[in-house]
Assembly symmetry: C2
Homo-oligomer: 425 residues x 2
């Protein structure tokens, strides 16, 4: 475009950082875009606040949706968050008014992405959301453009820095989940209400977007199987280490229709297992390229602003991509994998009575479901005559594993069972 | 563009793989590009050979340069290689004729990139070379577009898979360079004439391109300091391990003007040290994004074709990028770092006479250059009354290190010295 006028809605840390760069680095960013970039309008909850950049000369809107109707705006940057409400209203209004939209809003894209992409196509504008997945890593650009010619067999990754921080800390210190979560909240790594992060919802929003682009699907949040990390125990982390694994919250979508977010066992030598702390990492298995991985900060003002600004520059430079890699009309309905066909190894821990015959009964049940044991650790707890039976099981299908786990948990000698963790090799 | 007709010059493994994809996956690749992609013309040395795809219906040119003048061609894909000769002639002719060029030719871009980019700008077409750096990793797209808004403080990486394979093998087996090179040649990991790889030239071509894009410089191969891996000894690899380091051939360009390819010591826990075998990896340190890294196959038919096809799709989709991130007129002359200002830690091994006073004399010389020792290992070789003095030295500048190394090597009690390896933390 000849010149590019930009409005930002939402001036939290990401919005303020984005605005500051647009103002202070206007000339260099304009050079990169090949056209002049100018921040012209803003909207946020409180007008008076000092946000570290000069707001004079900018049009202020009390109601963010009003940004959509300013004549002097070509690109609306939505950084308010929330899948519905003002964010969705502004995005629809801006696209309808023929303005490009750049957003970091993973929930909105996961839940309303196809409708918004459709609207953008109708109006001949773009909706960009690079910053919504894996923060500063250009994870969507790599997939949609860099690997455009590939058949993707799987895309997987560590998509939530809070969970990775918590799991790394639990691993390093041996402390239980609740303890580490509390500390993460005090340090600002976790929200006061950590639900979206620790229950896997945030990672699932991101995986929905990756899955749609990787497989040309209509994004479908509801097809995902989602398990968070609340039930990952210090015991399982410790047994994982003993067995040569680490537990990571992995989002994984495959060409067979698997789309799940869950804590999984990864061999400690694998690339994703080595990612510690609040980082994100994305892993692409594809043909003809083979395996590509990218690692970086998944959140924070700087990394997120980096991706938001990259989207603004792409739009201003006229680099057009379809939101999900293809025109909406060509997207397919997401397929859901067949539980009976998806196989993997599993880890299972049973707390049992330390009685004769229990181990035999357990392996009999597994055998009746055609599941064989790869590794077994038995730890006797003398104090209460109980034992931990820890098993890594050979490749089996989800349905058999679920049936076997149910049957095992109903045995009278089994006091409790861990989750049947997927083991990826 | 409305439809995109493609010609390929050079049908070696990469050219044949690219052609095969364009033919067999025409419909899906066209969907991604938003326009129909058709391979229409080819050129190679020998016409008759079976290359695994159907050549009937394609225009054949004995002289590759003739592809530039076919009416039915919009994009010319140059996969012949060589910085001069037919590759350069074809590229110039194609751009002059107003055709886009996609090439994997790192040597040609490193040496003639600015002239070709200028010609492309004049003719309103693109010259794309994603596949020339780090093979299947979209390393240039990440830098030029994904991190467009960032100030890059350094870009570094493992840019030559052959060298990384050789160093990994030496590390694992303790065998000397010549042995491992010979085996790598037998396995097809190294060329019969390995000069370009093992002397660092190939990595330096790639680094020239990364440096130009990262810092908006005219690509300047001549400013690079280049050291290959021929002189990396089994002894130094073994001492590196003892000290907690690994030796990797690293290409590194910094905002201070450092642009060098050399074997360096990396802490074994660092991401680049963990990259083993024939992989490539690129590391971006940037603000505001912080650190982003990407890993993947740096060579081979599939990975290279993946990047070539991505460029073709970008061109066909009308996604325009300036070859070096900015219009040629805005590129600066590359700055060369001042040896006195660039500092790093160093590793140095001296083979000395096992005599009293040698160690004191050595440390005196280092002290006179203001260099202090961080770690010292002394290994006595009883058989010939000699000793290895192995030192990791604190941060010092290049000029002081060079002067000290020269003075040390001229001591009568010093039989030989290793290279002063840069130690990156």
């Amino acid at each position: 475009m000849e010149k590019c006028h930009i409005a930002i809605a939402g001036l939290g840390v990401v919005g303020a950082e984005t605005a500051r760069h647009l103002i202070e680095k206007q000339s260099i960013l304009s050079e990169k875009a090949g056209t002049s970039l100018t921040l012209t309008a803003i909207s946020a909850r409180a007008k008076g606040k000092d946000r570290g950049f000069d707001m004079s000369g900018l049009t202020w809107c009390d109601n963010p949706v009003d940004l959509a109707n300013l004549a002097d705006v070509d690109v609306v940057v939505e950084l308010m968050g929330g899948s519905e409400g003002p964010a969705l209203a502004l995005t629809k209004a801006a696209l309808s008014a023929g303005k490009h939209v750049v957003t970091a809003n993973k929930a909105m894209i996961a839940l309303h992405g196809v409708e918004l992409a459709q609207l953008a196509e109708e109006k001949g504008v773009q909706i960009c959301f690079e910053s919504s997945v894996a923060g500063g890593i250009p994870a969507l650009k790599i997939l949609r453009e860099g690997l455009a010619a590939n058949d993707i067999s799987s895309v997987s990754g560590i998509l939530n820095g809070t969970c990775n921080y918590i799991l790394s800390e639990m691993e390093e210190t041996g402390r239980p989940f609740d303890d580490v979560l509390k500390e993460a909240q005090e340090l600002g790594y976790a929200e006061a209400d950590p639900t979206f992060d620790v229950d896997g919802i945030d990672a699932a929003h991101k995986l929905t977007i990756l899955d749609a682009i990787a497989y040309g699907n209509v994004p479908d949040f509801d097809k995902l199987s989602i398990t968070g990390i609340r039930d990952v125990s210090a015991e399982d982390i410790s047994f994982a280490a003993e067995l040569g694994y680490r537990i990571r919250l992995i989002g994984r979508a495959t060409s067979e229709g698997v789309a799940c977010v869950e804590p999984v066992f990864l061999p400690e030598a694998s690339a994703l297992a080595k990612v510690t702390g609040p980082l994100n990492a994305v892993y692409y298995e594809a043909s003809p390229v083979n395996t590509i991985s990218a690692t970086g900060p998944g959140a924070g003002a700087g990394p997120t602003a980096s991706a938001v600004l990259a989207d603004i520059i792409d739009v201003a430079a006229g680099r057009h991509s379809f939101a999900f890699g293809k025109p909406v009309a060509l997207l397919s309905k997401a397929t859901v994998s067949d539980e009976a066909l998806v196989t993997s190894g599993y880890y299972l821990r049973l707390e049992v009575a330390d009685e004769k015959g229990v181990l035999a009964a357990v392996t009999d049940i597994l055998k009746s479901h055609d599941i064989s044991v790869e590794t077994l650790i038995q730890k006797i707890h003398e104090e209460d005559k109980s034992a931990s039976l820890v098993m890594v099981l050979h490749e089996t299908d989800q349905a058999s594993m679920a049936a076997a786990a149910l049957q095992l948990s109903s045995m009278s000698d089994v006091h409790s069972t861990s989750r049947a963790f997927t083991v990826l090799r």
